[in-house]
Symmetry: C2
Subunit: 258 residues, 2 copies
DNA sequence: CCCGAAAAGTAGTCAACACAACTCAGAACG
DNA sequence: CGTTCTGAGTTGTGTTGACTACTTTTCGGG
């Protein structure tokens, strides 16, 4: 137990541990606040704060007159796991792999410059990779970075580690991302690299990632083989999440109201 | 101002109003807690609770030594708006429409019974509809309901109002849903009803909705024309949401760890 | 004029108390 | 035996007070 972390964070982590370990079973009532207070020797504040955090993640629900119940025992995928294909695959017990198709520096087109919020013709770094799960192609990824950020990647060992690891080593850390999901027909490059028939349906996820200051770090276009990967979202009346259905407009990928 | 609602809810609503009205601009610093306390005449608790709610929705970020800043001014889509095609379309200024292809009662197959958590061969209600935006086909929806729930729909005026309105009238209210998103090729029915070429990519959203007690109300398979509609999700390191990338397995749609 | 240190202001954390609203089990009643 | 009602237990809400950690501003020295 980290003694330096705030109390409510320690309590939260302990509760997560208990849910994961099965000490608190799915559907069980969580111990009453009073007993938690007695057990941890704190006041009610931190206990309620920890419970509120669990509630915000959908791990527990209900309450008011009765102790809340454990709703979900599977943890929400962390931001890092969701962003990094490599880390995600390893978490699931797959062997991640990749094949770099292209890693180049070139000037931005107008559309790309707008998305990355650069001046037109600014240099960018483009990386196209096939991502593999247990050796089988699962996704074609086309990532674009401002040159100042992407230059760390041109020299890196892309076939080995994850791009996000390489970027983190250079002090570039994404903390926020927007994903737009739709479907698209396989084009020649995907036909060749993913081994699908021309026109096959692919799941496309376009991503815009920023750092803590709101600077755009990356824009990407990932095309998944729907037979290998899909996406799941949970939703509830009490627990609203930034998930929206959109009518398609000519306007490109962008954060809301920016 | 609703005098009966809890204080922190009233404060939350007032803050949302100010963000929406532009009184608090994107990027602005929110007034300090002290000034909010002075203005609203409450103690620090409710103010912090309201701010925490905004933070949980990603509307404000930062803090610690400095007042938090407004991050997003566009509100998160409500659960109702996200669930109801009709309500969503109207919110966006489109004229929603629909054409009922089929509304029938029949016994559940084994797979459907499992998804709806019914005994095999239990009666179910199946409704297939084309949904229109401004008169143009946008989505083909195939919904399945346990007969006890779906029977309210067979007699309802489906061409007029929303299914969710009809269900709400019968006391059936979805409060939780899981969506699995992938891509699929257009089959003959979609070719005919959506007017696309055979094999065209469609965005498929499979949905499992439950009521407050966890009873499954509906399972659905929505196939969107990607040229008309897509989905957007926002994500951040501090604000985790129940969004997961999944490896495709034979197992069907289901809530995590259930 | 610039720079660094001190001071003032801010949010984060924690405690202790009080009351309200709600749930549930068991007692009392018909 | 079934129903209703009461009361204990629980969480939701709000208050007050105190301290810590961090940021911004201010001010003085160089």
């Amino acid at each position: 137990m980290t003694s330096s972390a705030p109390l409510h964070v320690q309590l939260y982590e302990e509760m997560i541990r208990r849910i994961r370990s099965g000490a608190w079973q799915q559907g069980d009532k969580v111990p009453s606040e009073k007993s938690l207070i007695a057990e941890f020797g704190t006041s009610r504040g931190p206990v309620r704060q920890a419970l509120a955090a669990l509630r915000a993640e959908g791990m527990i629900v209900g309450g008011r007159g009765t102790p809340p119940r454990v709703q979900r025992t599977a943890p929400v995928q962390s931001f890092d796991t969701f962003m990094s294909f490599t880390e995600w695959a390893r978490d699931l017990g797959f062997v991640p792999g990749q094949r770099v198709i292209e890693a180049s520096r070139r000037p931005a087109t107008e559309r790309i410059a707008t998305e990355l919020r650069l001046a037109p013709d600014s240099p960018i770094v483009e990386i196209i990779r096939v991502r593999l799960l247990d050796g089988k192609p699962a996704m074609l990824e086309r990532s674009l970075y401002p040159y100042e950020i992407g230059r760390h990647l041109l020299s890196a060992d892309l076939d080995g580690g994850s791009i996000y690891q390489a970027l983190a080593g250079a002090g570039v850390v994404p903390v926020r991302a927007r994903h737009v999901i739709d479907a698209i027909a396989a084009h020649p490059l995907e036909v060749e690299q993913l081994g699908v028939a021309p026109g096959s349906p692919l799941l496309r996820v376009r991503r815009l990632a920023t750092n803590e200051f709101g600077t755009v770090i990356e824009t990407a276009d990932d095309r998944y083989l729907p037979s290998m990967t899909n996406f799941a979202v949970e939703n509830s009346a009490e627990h609203r999440i930034p998930l929206t259905r959109q009518a398609v407009t000519p306007a490109p990928l962008a954060f809301a109201s920016e």
